[in-house]
């Protein structure tokens, strides 16, 4: 039974590929190339160095904007979650920022700061930050009062309380913000690259869109999805398992 359960994801993937292949054969159109054609493009672009170069540029932007948005968002989220006055003051700002379309922020950043790398990163951070703040704020609002009292009683101080009492309770919220953040950030980066950069996945996708080269578009998309899956399996899941080992 357990073995069957392990095989299910593979069976699911093969079914999807089979469905795609069937559909491609049935339509027989360059608008939907078959999986093997996409694989050929993937190989060609990888060997030529184009795919690693553009994928690397996008990943660098992802790491930079993520590394800025997460700590800032966590700090602001904890502040708003623990301080009612700060929350009352900033909550409308948050709602406003959450509702500004990503495209508007990106255009404004390019108009105000020029078509430069820092403007691109800033635009992504501004788009991601409110989501992190809202998620962490919810976590900070439901911290265990008993444990905070205990920490106060035993004079833990701010640093020990943050590391040993608050952060472990926020961990599920941080992981949720991380996962949702990575998925959101890379989509925003594509728009940022499409509108104002001369490299990266977004730039390449724009180029292939102009050429109506669907196989290349799919090849680049699949490459990025694979990278994101690797991040999930090799970084996020082990981190989560280590942090949750205290559970029964």
């Amino acid at each position: 039974m357990a073995r069957l359960q392990k095989l299910l994801p593979i069976a699911s993937l093969l079914t999807l590929l089979g469905f795609w292949q069937g559909l491609a054969l049935w339509l027989d159109s360059s608008n939907l190339p078959a999986p093997y054609q996409v694989a050929q493009v993937l190989w060609r672009e990888t060997v030529s160095g184009q795919l690693p170069y553009h994928l690397g540029a996008t990943l660098l932007r992802l790491v930079a904007s993520f590394s800025i948005a997460m700590p800032l968002g966590c700090a602001a989220g904890i502040l708003l979650g623990r301080n009612a006055k700060a929350d009352a003051f900033f909550s409308h700002w948050l709602v406003m920022l959450l509702n500004v379309p990503a495209l508007v922020t990106i255009i404004l950043c390019y108009v105000w700061f020029g078509l430069v790398e820092s403007a691109a990163i800033f635009a992504v951070v501004v788009n991601k930050l409110p989501n992190v703040i809202v998620t962490i704020r919810e976590g900070a609002r439901v911290l265990d009062k008993d444990l905070l009292e205990m920490a106060h009683c035993y004079q833990f101080g701010a640093r020990k309380t943050l590391i040993h009492v608050i952060w472990p309770q926020l961990y599920p919220f941080v992981m949720s913000a991380t996962r949702a953040g990575l998925a959101l950030i890379w989509k925003i980066i594509l728009i940022v690259e499409l509108l104002g950069r001369s490299n990266g996945m977004g730039y390449q996708l724009h180029l292939y869109f102009q050429l109506f080269d669907v196989a290349s578009i799919l090849a680049y998309t699949i490459a990025f999805i694979v990278v994101m899956q690797l991040i999930e399996e090799l970084i996020l899941k082990p981190l989560e398992q280590t942090a949750q080992q205290w559970r029964r």
């Binding site: 009292e149 035993y154 004079q155 040993h164 029964r248």
Partner: protein, 245 residues
């Protein structure tokens, strides 16, 4: 260690939602001698936990003062809560180290051995029984080397044999390290087994009704019949306290 004097002129809770405003404590004076074990006995809901929270600095919203002898600083507190309040994501040893300003493994080793928990030092609290968790909470309070040790019904919801075992371990620990202790309980037998002095309180607004020293020698406190005899003697001599239990 220094003597501690607590004066609460007024502790009231304002009305909120369906709860009416009420006065929890009124004009209460409590003096604790250095190294004294005092049991606070009073009816349920009379404000005993509120009093402990004020002493622990968790509730600053009251009128009154806490004086700690000639020292100007606030007393260093060890607090054993009704539930153990251990950090579930830290091991037993880490929980104990965090309560100390400077982690002292020697003290932790000794306390763990005294409470028969050495084998569980690297366990997470979720893997301990309730009785073991309560023992860890008691060790944590001692490990903090407090000026004042507050204990809020720490044996509640333990079965009688476990409660008795933990009580005896607590007593042996306290005799080795005689901190000033304020122990809240409903159980007069438990109070007699532990205390130097019993402080009986009224229902809310809480006031001290009677203070009675426990004259039963400590070497007889493990004998149930001696405790029962002393309890009967108390109830006969101080008829008013029966209504407070």
């Amino acid at each position: 260690m220094t003597p501690i004097h607590l004066h609460i002129a007024d502790k009231s809770y304002p009305a909120s939602g369906a709860n009416l405003a009420h006065q929890a404590i009124a004009n209460l004076n409590l003096h604790l001698q250095s190294g004294e074990f005092v049991c606070l006995v009073g009816p349920s809901g009379c404000g005993k936990t509120t009093l402990l929270n004020i002493l622990a600095g968790l509730d600053p919203d009251y009128q009154g003062s806490i004086q700690t002898g000639p020292a100007a600083r606030a007393p260093k507190i060890g607090y054993v809560f009704q539930n153990p309040r251990l950090l579930p994501w830290r091991t037993v040893q880490e929980n104990l180290e965090l309560a100390q300003h400077t982690p002292d493994l020697h003290v932790i080793d000794t306390l763990l051995a005294a409470m028969q928990l050495t084998a569980f030092r690297h366990s997470y609290p979720e893997r301990l029984s309730l009785g073991m968790s309560r023992r860890v909470a008691i060790i944590r309070a001692f490990a903090a080397t407090p000026d004042l040790l507050l204990m809020d019904e720490p044996f509640v919801s333990l079965d009688a044999p476990t409660a008795r075992q933990v009580r005896e371990l607590l007593l042996s620990l306290w005799q080795q390290r005689p901190h000033t202790v304020l122990f809240v309980t409903h159980d007069l037998r438990e109070a007699i087994a532990l205390a130097d002095r019993l402080v009986f309180t009224s229902s809310a607004p809480m006031q001290i009704v009677s203070e009675i020293p426990v004259t039963l020698p400590r070497n007889q406190r493990h004998l149930d019949e001696k405790i029962e005899t002393f309890r009967q003697h108390l109830l006969t001599q101080h008829a008013g306290i029966k209504n407070l239990l």
